[in-house]
Amino acid sequence: MKAVMVIWLSLYLLACNTAPNTPVSDFEFLTPRPFGYINGDEIRHKIIIETRNGVQLQRGGLPKRGVVNRWLNLNNVAVSETKISGGFRYEINLTYQAFYAPLEVKMLTIPSFDLPLAQGGNNASQTVPAWHFTLSPLRELSIRKDESGQYMRPDAAPQLLGDDGVVYGLWAAMAVTLSSAGGLAYLYGYLPGLPKRRVFKKASKKLAGLSAAQTTEALTVFHQALNTVNGAPLFKHQLADFYRHYPSYQIADPQLVWFFNTSNQHFFSDAAQTQSATLATLRKLCATCLDIERGWQ
């Protein structure tokens, strides 16, 4: 019994000693079906290799893109590396292309190669085995001819150029143009059915046509404009309520207060005013309100 225990212990220790010394902890060679290929087909191989103890794949030793042999090309080599506990995991994707015209179904072999590995000054390698597959002919053995001689597939005719992308681009450009034109028309008060956007525009025009002596008319025009925006006659004590409904006019508050004071003074007081100064200030106030109406302020 003692002897058996000693043997088991020895084997266990041996296993513990040898396992971490191998540089590769996992190796998988994933291949597609090994039959049913024809001339010009691509064959994709995937190699998964996991290393331990910081062993790294030497990428310079991987197969190079290009001609492998007379009938086999290596079109693409893609390697991805991820760090895992104690080592690295590599995924190597190889795309081969076979150019072979057999007379009957023929077995071919993609040759074996070694993946070089290194850790510091130590080198090792992992062999990727050869892979066998069968390739079939595309045409019969006897030569078939048509009226023009040896039968071959006809030329590839050029397709008409597609314009879908350009048409979509044109629609998008038209949408942008129309939207911006609509926005500008709205801002400048050219859109029918939106009279409030044109209130101060009309008032500005009327004020521009008045002389300095027509202060009464000028004040009336601006009152009417404010009443139109408010939807009801607007008085000085209602300004706070007006700003609640139309907050953008808040910035013109000092000027509007001036306007109501001037108006009250003009219509209900006998004190004299400088009429030209009133009209000029009123025009400025109307211009400010016009900017607010257009959304510029």
Binding site: D155, P158, D163, L187
Partner: protein, 183 residues
Amino acid sequence: MSKPIALWGLLLLGSVAILAQTWTLYGISQSNRSIAALAEGKEVRLGNIVNAAPEVRLARAMMFKKQQRYDEALATLNLILDAPDSALQAKIRYNLGNIYLHLAVVKTEAMAVNEAMPLVALAKQAYRQALALDSQFWDAKYNLEVAMRLLPEMDKITSENESPVNQKSQLWTTVPGFPRGLP
């Protein structure tokens, strides 16, 4: 004031884009008219070819081939070998291979084997390039097989006394029974 400036900017940008897209559409329509005319065997004004899409030149090359003007067809195809679209490139190389193969078959039937061999080699190269760009190009696979049957490829038989340098640079030959020692 920034809102109307942005809107004016968009209006300008949109208007320029409309003009550019309309011009591009006009160009596409012109090219398609040229392709249709060339497919019917009608010659197209050179001005419509020079700045046209590679598809128009491809159509012109096919017209030349139909008219048995093979040199002009080959020259036209060689001009558009670097077309930006890889599917179109595959088509161009396939058609190039077809011209070489057709000429090779004609030479073979006229018993001019020495003239046919390089043409078949060129055809195979063109088909391989087409298949490297599009491995699902069935017509290229088929015609490559035709070319390979016409001029089979065989592994070179090597002997003991050949130097390793030569073995590396000439692993295979394209012609069976070709006298050894020739390039």
